[in-house]
Amino acid sequence: MKSTLDVVAIKSDFPIFDVPMRGGKRLVFLDSGATSQKPIQVMDAERNFYSTQNAAVHRGSYYLAEIASEAYEGARESVAKFLQVKSEEIIFTKSATESLNLLAVSFERSSGRLGIKAGDEIVVSELEHHANLLPWQQLAKRTGAVLKWFEMNADGSLDLSRIDEVITSKCKVVAVTHQSNVLGSAPDIAPIIAAAHVVGAIFVLDGCQSVPHQPVDIKGLDIDFLTFSGHKALGPTGIGVLWGRSELLEQMEPFLYGGSMIETVTMTNATWAPSPKRFEAGVPNMAQAVGLAAALDYLSAVGLSNIHSWEMQLTEYALKGLQEIDGVSVVGPQGLANRGGVISFVIDKLHPHDVGQVMDQYGVAVRTGHHCAWPLIRKLGLTGTTRASFYLYNDLADVDVLLESVLGARDYFRKR
């Protein structure tokens, strides 16, 4: 198997891999599904902002404020270029979680096509991360709207057999993930998007697990909103992106109120600036925006297609290895079709916490538990899984240690 990318060179950009783990073991980081590691380029971009450009954007007419504004708006343009959308359609949030809450609350406050009221229907799926379930579930509770969902099949795909019952003419919003953060399965969203648009509903795509890992064609998908988190895409913590069609953003009420998002203000009244400013109240997360732009530049330089195909090679190798170990069951899709580089598995009847603990002794960082997708885990009749997720800095040796540690975990408890 040959890598489509130079993993050795890539790894050397990430200082964390020099840090010894418990017992001096080298770090085998297989938890990029939770958060990614950061290359020096991203740290340098932030430091450079603080050292040479830092001032409050959009608020001063002095030189440094001009430079800061250019850096921040330049970051917006970078993100727009990365997603191949218009720059004014990019809103910086603090995380995908904030983006999705922003949408739910803004819809609650808006009227017309985007407004949510009693009797309206909101559709999600059983695959969703809590961040793409709870804002909608609670919005439904607050407004009297009805929350509906697509059920999940055992292979991690969605049951679309009753799509016309799930998405009806009462439906206002459909919010679905591009890829499950637990199983790695990529649901067949095309028919869902089409069905949503037939009834005039808005389609929101949770791109947290796809945007950092593969080319995502927003126009081709014909979606209305997309979000992802910077920290899962080599970027800093504390920054998320919300993309939306400008004609929709212009109709939406604000989420956070404060400085820089207004047009005029009196004690009793206020009007709002156009988007994206309308949705960016306060002094923004400037350094993080600049850091995220550097992260996306890094990803683009390596190439999203290269990253994706390399992750799929790692996934193939890991899947095969795991499936050959007696006592190990891969949960979700067993093959390479309709999936990304995230694998969940269980060992014997062991609790994932115990499994992860033994794997940790090998320097392996995997996530254990319900992965913030508790309904999905319950649907599978489990209390949790152990999850390995890959990124551009992982190599085949990492998978070898993964397999060794899985065997180790199994045997540690079998023997005792």
């Binding site: 959009h58 608020r59 001063g60 007419s61 002095y62 404020a65 001009e66 504004s69 250019e70 820089s260 207004i262 047009e263 005029t264 600036a273």
Partner: protein, 145 residues
């Protein structure tokens, strides 16, 4: 001094004695604001026989925003909508050039004095305020811009 390229004499003249400034009386009045600095402009106009007429504006703001509105109103008043649009486009291009494009004097007349503004990104919005109000008002009066 770099500053003098920003504050050209014609700009300060227009600032001190703004043209076409008064109480807008037209039926359609547009109100534009630059929320960063609080500059405001109200403007009305009429379009008769394809020409921009009765342009009157009022406002508060910095020398750049006020002078630019004054120069703009002087420039487009009496012009055909088509010519006004050409001026608007030329001016916008100049403003977005970051100091690289000086603008054609035969189109912009006094407004070329504002070329220096484009080197100061924070002031570009000031210079554009009146022009955007004009554009908005013209469209609301049926012009196709």
């Amino acid at each position: 001094m770099e500053l003098d390229s920003l504050y050209q004499e014609v700009i300060l003249d227009h600032y001190k004695k703004p043209h076409h400034k008064g109480l807008p009386t037209g039926e359609i009045q547009v109100h534009h604001v630059n929320p960063n600095c609080g500059d405001e402009i109200t403007l009305s106009l009429a379009i008769r026989d394809g020409k921009v007429e009765d342009l009157v504006w009022d406002g508060v703001g910095c020398s750049i925003s006020q002078a630019s509105a004054s120069i703009m109103s002087e420039l487009v008043s009496g012009k055909s909508v088509a010519d006004a649009q050409i001026a608007l486009q030329e001016f916008t291009e100049m403003m977005q050039s970051k100091g690289k494009y000086q603008g054609k004097e035969e189109i912009l007349e006094d407004a070329v004095a504002l070329a220096g503004v484009s080197k100061f990104p924070a002031r570009v919005k000031c210079a554009l305020l009146g022009w955007m109000a004009f554009k908005d008002a013209a469209i609301q009066n049926g012009a196709e811009l």
